[in-house]
Subunit: 158 residues, 2 copies
């Protein structure tokens, strides 16, 4: 089951930004990310989950060095679209497991979450694709997380 | 700028499930996805955004045929962990753009959201990785979305 995982990646150069209660109507995501693109700000993970009462939260990650450039842009757009607020945190890290065909094996994501849970590591954001599962966690848990994922996927006989 | 996009994918065999107000502490994500894995339910996108007041929403997608198997599992776990509720929708589709190196070009995500916005298509969920940006939209918008993305990334001179 875990042979599908070919690698573990981590990135400490991560800051997360969240916009809260954005109107859930066409054109809002475009307005936010076009404003960031116009300032040549690289965005990594973009995460938007389920709508509530016509509103939604959108969060994304940037590099730490881009945070001071991204925040004024996000705050301006948050005002333009009538979001309720903006938050950020640059004391976070991203840990990922990578491997082709993971998605067709439901146990892989559960195993990753289990490895982090067993170390008492709280998962702040989750984003997945067919070949990659990424979790944003507190920066000071990154080393522990990478070790736990290594033990889970590469050292255990499973 | 748009030469980085090598393909457009769409998937109509998609249902989304959301768990609302789950406690934001270690082990919760593991409990949800281990229960699904134990029932051999394939999960595609897993999306968790920013925490609010110690609570969080987690949403994910399954195939339409797995929806009836997944819902009872999710409702049982939602009760065990004290989530405030569960919702689902099987009238959705996933559209994605794929291409190496997209993430380092901030204009690509904005262009995708713009192509959908210009057609009046509302984006219900967003998940990205380095090589893929996926949006969940209403099922009846899928064909229009694929055409708009094709025109944006493969027909325009940009
Ligand atoms: C919230 C935001 O994603 C909105 N639904 C849009 O389509 O732009
Ligand atoms: C909400 C859920 O992701 C929780 N933070 C966990 O670590 O499991």
């Amino acid at each position: 089951e875990y042979r599908l995982v070919s690698g573990i990646a981590h990135d400490l150069n991560v800051a997360k930004i969240g916009l809260f209660n954005v109107p859930d109507r066409p054109g809002i995501a475009k307005q936010i990310f076009k404003a960031l693109a116009d300032e040549h700000i690289n965005v990594d993970m973009i995460i938007q989950s389920w709508m509530r009462d016509g509103r939604n939260d959108i969060s994304f990650t940037v590099t730490r060095n881009d945070l001071h450039k991204a925040l004024p842009v996000v705050e301006r757009v948050a005002n333009e679209i009538g979001a309720s607020g903006v938050a950020y945190n640059d004391r976070v890290a991203k840990v990922s497991i990578v491997g082709a065909g993971m998605v067709t094996n439901p146990g892989v994501a559960a195993a990753m979450f289990e490895a982090l849970a067993d170390e008492g590591i709280n998962i702040e954001m989750i984003s997945t694709s067919e070949i990659k599962i990424s979790c944003v966690i507190a920066e000071d848990q990154a080393i522990k997380a990478v070790r736990a994922l290594h033990a889970k996927f590469f050292e255990q006989q499973s």
